[in-house]
């Protein structure tokens, strides 16, 4: 019966969504939401993606996903003893989300009249990557609601082997989805926004990072808590991850933070989401503490895999707290001192980078755990030697970033060699996803440091035919043309970069959209594994020259590649034990 109801719930929501999507495809501008986010000049693909381009539609999609995961859960795990509690929890969440949708963000409101055309989809969102970024992000949030419901079920019915298996599955899926969403957002920021970077430590970005960090700690905590070690800690992380995802949507939608990414904000939505956060926070944490006696837990042994995992969790939670404080501190000062602040990116990078090194050191230690265990005295001596070498290097005049690069490169080589030795001696790699995941995190750290240290930018003024020499390569503005498209006109600038007889062409574009006269630009990028040439077309001057921002960014491709490897590792680690 319950499972049938969950299918019915999903079908009804699916019909509602299909109905709204149909209005978009039919250009029915008598729907206010369609009017605001579409136009009849829009290509069909974007008419469809316009569905989730603003708050109302994206929230509806999120509810659809939540209902979908409820249905899937019932389909696959109907026999499990945790399903009633999990269903009740999800239904509870679903109920409040639907209330929120109906009373504060109803996408089905209509005009009495039929406008001839809509106000068009935000041109920034007319990009294939951004068309899929919001649904993926919401899916990530929603899947963490499912892990939350499983954790709550565990509080009532006890954590058995079956529950752990399913928890691992859902935690893996959510972790994968949220990581993918963050990666898509980064790629979009780099290619579409044209700010020359992929991460800005902007509040809206940090807000997404919070559940991701908690989720990362949570996924790792599942490994040791299966042996009844620090079980309550795992439960606490599971609850926090979900709460942080609601907090994220509250902060983004209420507009209480100064961000360069702004969203339509509405005080009534803010109040509703805050109340929702308060309700879930008090209910779930109250439950957690009232049941904490049941979660009898042991502490792990010193120098064991579990112990390292606990350390990893502590470091991750510390990073989480740093991001949390840095992001929310401006709210505190605004409320109590009426002082608007913004926290610079150096706050985050200077604090988090050393902690990432600690994490990498933990991976390395884990690799040599057997050795460390058998020779406890040697371990102490080795770690003291390593620590003093680093302290010495740190005190010496060596650039700390270079030091970091050397350390990360060493870690990369050691991990790779370990994996290769294991592969050739046993023809198999145990827990492949772990090795691959950790390798890609180390590679990612390496690329980020590389990018941070070596990238260069210059602003110049060029006429067609002009050349400029910068950082060992010659940039030439070949030509500038004007082209017309269906819903925009564009100025297209072709450049060529000449470096050691290798010639590359770049095309940068500036678009003027016909509805609203909005101007956006397409960055010209030519990538190789090590470095990117990145050109942004600026403004035209009286004498026919154009201002141009020309950057050489290192390691961008490596950042994407390592993130994709990480995603593979997450996916493989999640599904390898499951037949489905």
């Amino acid at each position: 019966m319950g499972s049938k109801l969950s299918y019915a719930n999903f079908s009804v929501l699916l019909i509602a969504c299909a109905y709204l999507a149909y209005q978009f495809l039919q250009d029915n501008f008598s729907f206010i939401y369609v009017f605001e986010n579409s136009s009849n000049l829009l290509p069909v693909f974007y008419k469809f993606s316009a569905f989730w381009s603003a708050h109302e539609g994206s929230f509806l999609l999120m509810i659809l996903f939540l209902s979908g995961s409820l249905a899937v859960n019932n389909l696959l795990f109907w026999e499990e003893k945790w399903i009633p509690i999990s269903n009740a929890t999800i239904a509870f969440i679903l109920f409040f989300y639907l209330l929120f949708q109906i009373f504060t963000s109803n996408p089905f409101l209509t005009f009495d009249i039929l406008p001839k055309n809509g106000t068009d989809l935000n041109p920034l969102l007319q990009d294939p990557l951004l068309a899929i970024h919001p649904p993926v992000l919401f899916a990530g949030y929603v899947f963490y609601a499912v892990t939350f419901s499983l954790v709550i079920a565990g509080l009532f019915r006890g954590f058995d082997k079956e529950l752990f298996k399913n928890l691992k599955l859902w935690a893996g899926i959510s972790w994968f989805t949220l990581t993918l969403a963050i990666l898509l957002g980064s790629i979009w920021a780099y290619y579409e926004l044209g700010w020359g970077g992929y991460w800005f430590w902007d509040p809206v970005e940090n807000i997404v990072l919070l559940p991701w960090l908690a989720g990362t700690a949570f996924t790792h905590s599942l490994i040791y808590s299966r042996n009844k070690i620090l079980l309550s800690w795992m439960v606490f992380l599971g609850i926090s991850t979900f709460l942080l995802s609601i907090l994220g949507s509250f902060i983004v939608r209420s507009g209480i933070l100064n961000s360069v990414h702004s969203f339509a904000s509405d005080p009534s939505r803010g109040i509703f989401l805050l109340s929702l956060f308060a309700l879930f926070a008090f209910a779930s944490l109250g439950l957690f503490f009232s049941k904490s006696v049941l979660l009898k837990s042991n502490w792990p042994e010193l120098i064991s895999k579990q112990y390292l995992l606990v350390l990893n969790n502590i470091v991750l939670v510390v990073i989480l707290l740093i991001v949390f404080l840095g992001t929310l501190y401006p709210i505190v000062t605004e409320v109590f001192y009426n002082q608007k602040l913004s926290i610079g990116p150096d706050y985050f990078s200077s604090l988090i980078t050393p902690l990432v090194f600690v994490l990498i050191a933990l991976f390395l230690a884990e690799q040599f755990l057997g050795y460390l265990k058998s020779n406890q005295r040697n371990t102490l001596i080795i770690s003291i030697i390593i620590a003093s070498v680093f302290l010495f290097l740190f005190i010496s005049e060596l650039n700390p970033v270079t030091l970091g690069l050397i350390f990360v490169a060493l870690a990369l080589i050691i991990l790779l060699l370990r994996a290769l030795v294991e592969f050739f001696s046993t023809k198999d790699i145990k827990v492949m996803h772990k090795i691959l995941g950790h390798l890609s995190v180390v590679l990612l750290t390496f690329s980020v440091l590389l990018n941070h240290e070596f990238s260069e930018t210059i602003d110049v003024k060029l006429k067609p035919g002009d050349e400029i020499e910068f950082s060992g390569a010659t940039l030439k503005l070949e030509s500038i043309n004007v082209e017309g498209q269906a819903n925009f006109d564009s100025v297209v600038a072709s450049f060529s970069v000449l470096e050691s007889n290798l010639k590359k062409t770049l095309v940068s574009e500036k678009r003027v959209y016909k509805i609203g006269g909005v101007i956006t630009a397409e960055t010209g990028i030519s990538s190789s594994l090590i470095k990117d040439y990145h050109v942004v077309l600026g403004d035209r001057y009286q004498d026919g020259s154009w201002s141009i921002r020309y950057s050489i960014n290192y390691g961008i491709m490596m950042i994407w590649i390592s993130s994709i490897l990480l995603l593979f590792a997450m996916l493989y680690g999640t599904i390898r034990r499951h037949g489905y």
Binding site: I32, F35, E36, F111, D112, I113, P115, K116, N117, T119, S232, F250, S254, G255, I256, P267, G270, I271, L274, F277, A278, A281, F282, L285, F289, S292, L328, I331, V332, E334, V335, G516, G517
Partner: protein, 171 residues
């Protein structure tokens, strides 16, 4: 014991957090307080132009009963009240003058072309400066002026009900 300390700590942090967030929401709303401008008189210092760029004679605003309607092509509620404004100019003897608020002129012209133009003319107020002096906080808003004095001010959409309540008595 440890659990209890943890409980108190976490709950205290939560309460503090939620209290702070609520305060930040409250302060947001105070800024959005909107003032009614009734009883003030119109005081124009700058030259005014219509959407095509023709200068507007000031007398047209200061003499007799003038209905001033703030609109923009990007404003959805304006589109909703548009048919009502058209019907009112046809049925009543009213001088309806528009204020085109923070809008691109080509968008404004297209809007009037597509939806009809009930205005005698529209004051082109791209910067929003003229509207700011008038006390406009957004679009749509409607003022009734009698000999340059604001006798009635509606913030938001005008429909038959609002008309009867706020404006009909003067006609």
């Amino acid at each position: 014991m440890a659990t209890r300390i943890f409980l108190v700590l976490i709950m205290a942090i939560l309460v503090l957090m939620i209290a702070t967030f609520s305060l930040s929401l409250v302060e947001k709303e105070e800024i959005a307080l909107i003032e009614n401008q009734e009883g003030k008189s119109l005081n124009i210092v700058d030259d005014l132009y219509d959407i095509e760029g023709n200068q507007i004679p000031l007398e047209s605003l200061l003499e007799g009963k003038v209905l001033l309607n703030v609109w923009a092509s990007w404003c959805i509620t304006c589109l909703v009240e548009h048919p009502f404004l058209k019907s009112i100019t046809q049925s009543k003897d009213v001088k309806l003058i528009g204020i085109n608020y923070k809008d691109q002129s080509f968008n404004a012209e297209k809007y009037l072309l597509e939806n009809g133009d009930p205005y005698i003319f529209s004051i082109y107020d791209l910067s929003g400066e003229f509207s700011l002096k008038l006390g406009v906080t957004g679009a749509p808003e409607t003022f009734l002026l009698i000999d340059g004095v604001i006798v009635s001010h509606r913030i938001g959409e005008v429909n038959m009900e609002i008309w009867n309540e706020k404006f009909a008595q003067y006609f």
